[in-house]
């Protein structure tokens, strides 16, 4: 049976919707919400598949940083995934008052997105999926531009300009644009009020997962440009 090279998932088992999961977040509530069954476990990628409202959905942990995320997006897009929601973590600025941040853009201080597009191209979520995700969070998320970096310990690009820093969003948005698929993200701060000792509470992650599944399965899926 053919398997995705890095992900180890049988190509025949890839549906149209995927949740990309930051390994810092507990996976149990995300998997449980879709009554997920183990699909594969290879390298840093742990995959489950389940159902939401009659739609088959994949959940996969994506490792640390943009490079392994891009590998996952590429292999999944080539096998049939048409829409992604990243459930991720970020270091929020103090002035972010909401529990979650819904990036409406990402500053491209990462290396991966530059290997897809000139820096002038904006890293943006799909506008429809972004709006559906906002509705699905019921007001628990605020919009903001996140700065995607490769090393969190470095200096922020321009103090006060971005609402948070993360390791993935810019690469996800630009890779999705290059492949003509839908993508959006929902972030939580593991050092904020939603977490205890750096671990985001299961209830919070479960609520994030529900918002992701609702929005993903509500959009009309276009054709991808994966084989341009």
């Amino acid at each position: 049976m053919a398997e995705l090279y890095h992900l180890g998932i049988p190509t025949s088992a890839v549906p149209r919707f995927a949740v990309l999961l930051d390994p810092l977040l507990p996976s149990d509530p995300v998997v449980t919400a879709i009554k997920g069954k183990p699909l594969a476990s290879r390298r840093e990628y742990v995959s489950h598949s389940g159902g939401w409202n009659g739609h088959e959905v994949l959940v996969i942990t994506v490792g640390i940083g943009a490079p392994p995320l891009a590998i996952a997006v590429e292999e999944l897009t080539r096998s049939g995934i048409r829409a992604f929601v990243l459930l991720g973590t970020g270091a929020f600025n103090d002035d972010v008052r909401s529990p979650w941040l819904l990036p409406h853009g990402a500053a491209r201080s990462d290396g991966t997105s530059a290997q897809y597009a000139p820096l002038q191209f904006p890293a943006l979520p799909d506008p429809v999926l972004r709006a559906r995700l906002a509705s699905a969070t019921g007001g628990a998320a605020s919009y903001g531009v996140v700065e995607t970096v490769d090393v969190l310990e470095g200096c922020p690009m321009s103090p006060g300009l971005a609402a948070a820093r993360d390791l993935r969003c810019a690469a996800l948005f630009v890779a999705a644009a290059a492949r003509g698929v839908h993508a959006a993200a929902l972030l939580v701060d593991p050092n904020g009020d939603e977490a205890v000792d750096g671990v985001v509470r299961h209830q919070v992650v479960g609520d994030m997962a529900v918002a992701a599944y609702r929005s993903l399965t509500s959009i009309e899926i276009g054709e991808s440009r994966a084989h341009d």
Binding site: P118, Q120, P122, A131, Y143, S158, R225
Partner: protein, 241 residues
């Protein structure tokens, strides 16, 4: 230009590039008053359900739009909607289509003065969603996606005449493969300035017939102006809660 006291309390602006479009936007507002009648930088004001809205022509290009929006912001405006024209980039975009910008490619110089190169030129989601709501309410089909903002109009329409022809064509193919919808000359500058200063901005454009794309050239921008004003009305409504 001295500050106009008549803009006091006005936080919303409609920004056509072409001064000729100011009057056509004003047709959709109540109690229109012309503040600056002489081209190029025609400025006027009207009301939407009692809320004042300024209509100001920006002229063409990043440098010009930067001057105009900075002057408006000095007078209290913090919400900007560009209402303009653009040429098609994506092969399946047809003339006369209306596009709501989610963001824009920064293929210009002025936005570098507002934000570092890695920053995305992005429209404010509240502005985007207000225009999409207005379009949906009038049954108008629009697309929402990324625009391309450039400084050289003729680099787009006549790359063969340019000393950097290969570079222009190569970049253009990249924008197409990244799903960019249409090309114009102001949006990314407006968006980056708005990020820098904490303003809200959006853009709604109508696609011109440029190059070998299908569809006739349009001269009627009535649908564009109606949708822009309808979008602004939705935003004002949302702001009131």
């Amino acid at each position: 230009m001295s500050p106009s006291p008549s803009l006091v309390g006005c936080r919303y602006a409609l920004l056509p590039g072409d001064p000729g479009r100011v009057a056509r936007l004003l047709d959709h507002l109540e109690g229109a008053v012309v503040i600056q009648p002489a081209p190029p930088f025609v400025e006027a004001m009207g009301y939407l359900d009692g809320t004042p809205v300024v209509v100001a022509a920006t002229g063409m290009g990043g440098p010009s739009v930067a001057v105009i929006v900075n002057r408006l912001a000095e007078r209290g405006v913090d919400t900007f909607l560009r209402v303009g024209g653009a040429g098609p980039v994506a092969p399946d975009v047809a003339a006369s289509e209306i596009i709501v910008a989610s963001g824009a490619v920064r293929h210009e110089g002025a936005s570098a003065h507002a934000a570092p190169p890695a920053w995305p030129a992005v429209a404010d989601p509240a502005v985007v969603d207000a225009i999409l709501t207005a379009a949906s309410a009038e049954g108008r089909s629009v697309r929402c996606g990324v625009l391309h903002t450039k400084d050289s109009f003729f680099g787009e329409v006549d790359p063969a005449s340019s000393p950097i022809e290969d570079e222009l064509r190569s970049a253009w193919r990249s924008w197409q493969r990244l799903g960019v919808l249409a090309s114009e000359m102001e949006a990314s500058v407006l968006f980056c300035l708005s990020s820098r200063h904490g303003w809200r901005a959006g853009a709604v454009i109508k696609v011109n017939a440029i190059g070998d794309h299908d569809g006739a050239a349009w001269t009627d921008d009535e649908d564009l102006c109606r949708l822009a004003v309808g979008g602004m009305a939705e935003l004002i409504k949302a702001d009131r809660g």
